[in-house]
């Protein structure tokens, strides 16, 4: 515990045994960007590319199973997006939003594959056995703040582009800072001041999306990794058989929970992005 002599830190004490940050691959330190999460992200790209090619090769009006499955996902998702942002904006934003959803979903679920987070380098405690994996080979990409922050920044850039294109800079400023309600006279002047401050708060909340979006996703997936890791190592030190059974059985219920969390977080990230776009372009939809 913290003693009085220790300096006060605003950062939480790290209790989990999964590293907060993605690690570079040992032996490839000359490539500082090549981390365990980037490696998995590349594999996810490959999986997505392979499946999309499989689903869209030799497409027929009467679809084959892979095409049918992929089309069902795309159609379901397109309808949801269209319902939120409207048909006009949906055409422009669908590729980005669908990419976010599919990439986040596959990345989240990839972390549930046995071996992710448990195969790697560390202090050995026997042949092929590590007491602690210090440098995992694989890490879910969404458990790396670099990816979630990167996606949030991309989303923010796209949001700015679409907003400016749809309503213009002046339209955005009026939409954000302009008084609503059509009150005139002295009350109108008061409302101008009030809505100016409301606009400042709104602007702050918009900027804060670059923190909330990535931290929410990262926090959930990272926490899930920790839960699984903690549960699977709970009976370590109780003998090899008990430890093995414990590492299989104890995390099992949490795998189902993480499946749900993975899908939910992919949906949350994507739908929040859609809602942000809707909120800023709603004014434009009415006038165009």
């Amino acid at each position: 515990m913290f003693g009085l002599s220790q300096p006060l830190s605003l950062l939480p004490t790290v209790l989990a045994n999964v590293a907060q940050d993605a690690r570079t691959i040992p032996g490839l330190n000359f490539l500082p960007f090549l981390t365990d999460s980037l490696l998995v992200a590349a594999i996810v790209v490959g999986v997505v590319f392979w499946f999309s090619r499989k689903a869209t090769t030799n497409m027929q009006l009467v679809p084959h199973p892979a095409q049918n499955f992929f089309e069902a996902i795309i159609e379901f998702f397109y309808d949801r997006i269209e319902g939120i942002v409207g048909p006009k904006i949906a055409l422009k934003t669908f590729p980005l939003l669908a990419t976010l959803f599919i990439f986040i979903l596959v990345s989240n679920w990839f972390g549930l594959i046995p071996g992710v987070g448990t195969i790697g380098w560390g202090e050995g405690s026997g042949f092929g056995v590590l007491s602690e994996v210090e440098h995992p080979l694989f890490r879910p990409p969404t458990a790396d703040l670099n990816l979630t922050l990167g996606m949030a920044l991309v989303v923010f850039a796209v949001w700015i582009y679409i907003t400016v294109r749809e309503v213009g800079v002046w339209g955005f400023l009026v939409h954000t800072f302009g008084p609503k309600g059509g009150v005139k006279g002295l009350m109108g002047l008061v409302m101008i001041v009030i809505f100016f401050f409301v606009g400042l708060v709104e602007l702050f909340s918009i900027l804060l999306r670059n923190v909330t979006l990535p931290m929410r996703l990262y926090g959930n997936v990272y926490a899930g990794e920790n839960v699984l890791h903690t549960m699977s190592s709970m009976l370590d030190g109780q003998g090899p058989i008990v430890s093995f059974i414990g590492s299989v059985l104890l995390p099992l219920p949490f795998y189902f929970m993480e499946l749900l969390v993975g899908a939910l977080q992919a949906m949350v990230f994507t739908l929040l992005t859609a809602v942000y776009i809707k909120l800023s372009t709603d004014h434009g939809e009415e006038h165009h």
Binding site: V45, Y78, F94, N146
Partner: protein, 171 residues
């Protein structure tokens, strides 16, 4: 939140410009791959299928309309044929009536004509018989007169007696 604290947090979570850019590039790659190989073809296929279904629906509606029009047309043709047939039957009936009437009239006329001819023939025959009878009766009167009187009557007397007898005999 001070920049130093923000930088401290980012460092603690392992965020570095190189890793951040690398992850952004990976995400951009996924975006391009999916947009090029997945969303484009799939959305085009969905649109093609939607269009095909819409075309099918339109064709179905057209077929239904054509069918209704054909049924209407057939109904009109049947009604027209029915009416034509009724008219023809009525005309045939009327024509047959007229013909029958004409034939009847002809038959009646023919019968009357036959009757008239028969009457005429009978009358003529009667008259002939009557003439013949009168002449026979005149000859018998002449014979009787000759026998009664014992006198041979010349032809003028015979002629006169026969004429008077014929005049007096009215049958």
């Amino acid at each position: 939140m001070s920049p130093i604290l923000a930088a401290d947090i980012l460092t603690q979570f392992g965020v570095t410009p190189a890793k951040l850019i690398a992850q952004c590039l990976v995400f951009g790659l996924v975006y391009m791959v999916l947009k090029r190989y997945a969303f484009g073809p799939v959305l085009a296929m969905l649109e093609a299928r939607r269009k095909r279904i819409a075309d099918g629906e339109a064709k179905l509606e057209k077929i239904a309309r054509d069918l209704a029009a054909a049924e209407e047309n057939a109904k009109a043709i049947i009604e027209k044929a029915d009416s034509e047939a009724s008219r023809l039957i009525k005309e045939a009936g009327d024509s047959a009536g007229v013909l029958a009437e004409r034939k009847k009239q002809d038959a009646v006329t023919e019968a009357n004509s036959i009757l008239a001819k028969a009457r005429e023939a009978a009358k003529l025959e009667q008259e002939q018989l009557l003439g013949q009878l009168k002449r026979e009766f005149g000859r018998m009167v002449v014979d009787a007169t000759t026998r009664v009187t014992g006198k041979v009557l010349n032809s003028d007397d015979q002629e006169r007696i026969s004429r008077e007898t014929a005049t007096q005999v009215s049958l």
